[in-house]
């Protein structure tokens, strides 16, 4: 039976130590795929180096095999992935919202969805196959959750709000098989931009409300008056619905 759920995985990097690891968002996507389709119906694809450390961590999540499309170091993996996915036509492509290293622009899922004429859903938390397509729960601003339905093929990305993937099992990671698929080779496009190490750039501080700051603590107010002040404060910021 051909796989109908494809998970795209990348090699991650710890944001603090820079150590190579599995990408957290990709691992969440794989965990969700395994939950909704089972390990036999899930195909995991990585475009890059088959010997990359960290790749076996995905196998350790309970996968028998993993497909690698060989792409040289700094080449764009997108054309190789598109060629492969065009041929496979999965009903669902799951991946992390952006890579943890490299360009990491988060554009690849959008580009693939456009080329494959699939619908893209960002910030997916949960997903279920339904009669007429997919039912998804998305992370909405303010920690809320939104339910949407999508008909047809779907590219879903995971990031904020996604459940943290379980740890990888060492034995399973050793046993799993890495299969190299030969694809057309695409030369790396010439870089027209100047690439430099990032300069530390301070983030703008969240503006605190100066108008209220001058008022000082409210001493000796009755509970009802205090409640009214808090309710007005919240209503003024649109936080009371």
């Amino acid at each position: 039976m051909p796989a109908n759920v494809t998970v795209l995985v990348s090699i991650g990097r710890n944001p603090v130590s820079g150590r190579v690891r599995r990408a957290a968002a990709d691992a969440s996507a794989l965990a969700l795929a395994l939950r909704i389709a089972g390990k036999e119906a899930v195909e995991v694809v990585h475009a890059g180096d088959a010997a990359a450390p960290g790749l076996r961590d995905y196998l350790g999540m309970g996968l028998p095999r993993l497909t690698v499309l060989p792409v040289s170091g700094n080449a764009n993996p997108a054309p190789a992935l598109l060629g492969y996915l065009r041929h496979r036509r999965p009903a669902l492509i799951l991946t992390g919202e952006r890579a943890e290293a490299g360009e990491a622009s988060g554009f690849l899922p959008y580009w693939l969805a456009g080329e494959l004429a699939a619908t893209l859903l960002p910030e997916v938390v949960d997903l279920r196959m339904e009669a007429e397509g997919w039912g998804a729960i998305l992370a909405a601003p303010g920690g809320r959750r939104r339910r949407v339905c999508v008909a047809g093929s779907l590219v879903a990305t995971m990031g904020r709000g996604a459940t943290v993937a379980p740890l990888a099992a060492y034995g399973q990671a050793r046993r799993g098989e890495i299969i190299c698929e030969q694809t057309d080779t695409f030369a790396a496009a010439a870089e027209s931009r100047v690439i430099k190490p990032a300069r530390p750039r301070p983030k703008r501080l969240v503006a605190t409300v100066a108008a209220q700051a001058g008022r000082g603590p409210q001493v000796g107010v009755a509970p009802e008056e205090a409640a009214r002040m808090i309710a007005d404060f919240l209503a003024g910021r649109g936080l009371l619905v």
């Binding site: 303010g142 339910r147 309710a231």
Partner: protein, 396 residues
Amino acid sequence: MSEHQDGIRRRNPRRERDGRRTSSVVEPAPSVQAAQSEAAAGAAPRIDPRLRRRERQAAEPASTGVSVRAGDVTRIDQSSHYVLMVPDLERGRLSPADRITLGAARMLADADGGAVVLALMLASDEMLADDAGRAGVDRVVELRDAAFAAYDPQARAAAAVAIAEMISARHIVLSETRSQGGDLARRIAAALGGGLAVGVVRMTNASVTSVIDAGRREAIGPAPRVVAIDTAIFPAASAIQAREARPLAPPPVTLRSAIRDEGLVPMDPRTLPLAEAELVLSAGDGVTDWDAFHALAAALPAAEAGSRVVCDAGHLPRSRQVGASGTIVSAQCYIAAGISGSPQHLHGIADCRTVIAVNTDLHAAMVARAELAIIADAQAVMPALTKLVEERRHAR
């Protein structure tokens, strides 16, 4: 002193300098070409950058637009190109992030005499509560469709693409906010082609600096078609000139989308993810009436949280702990009931926009941090606030 003392001719440097000055007026003004022809004759190519700029400016007016100042409003009648800006809008207003992004759009437009076009995608009953002209917008395209009332990024992207194609926008600028501008920018870039720069932190003339490699490196290059601004870092425009905000007719579009919004899922405030919540009600050691606390959290509704002391005592689960050893919250408003505010706790709420403190101790650190501090017992204020919130909700 004589110039011919002892038969030696002494030079007068001041007179010589004056002589040089008058002669330079007669000479033809030096130009880049002249300097280049000198360079071709064997001299090192030394070109004054000011000359280069002056010559470029002299050659430019044909390509740039015509701008007129009428009163305090700057008008661009014939723009050489358009820069489309798609705002996030926060309750019908331009958000602070939108204003910074408008500044970036202005820079891209001003580099070559272009005009900034604001794309408004509104549901039938929505309207922009801000003055777009005062925010520095030359043109406004207002597109109304019932689809914009629901969550439908596909329809919004299709509409933005239609507007961009109608005005043949040279650049489309958005703020890189989660679930809004950041998502839309990538959708538009996928539909239009012509490149995308995300996480843009600086801009000069038409070159952009974008952070890549998860913050480790940055790339500097010409601005692509779609530009997503990191509004937490991108510098805000210092002075904004008022513009005319002339309305343009929207393009005819039929929006079709594969995404069907089924609305927000009702959630138990106890399970609302703490790190993402907009409104957090947090309890400290000063809270003893836990029924009143839970009732207030449900009435607001707010995500429940607590200090380390409260979680240690088992009143709330460990996952609800705020602070250095718990969750770092970034709420719009953090209501601290009976929390004194240890440094570890204050570290956990450093990203919160506003803080309300209810505490019996006037000298608590949390009271100093709060925008609204009420010196009262939380046990009395919590039920009163629950009652008031429910009354106001019923009144509407």
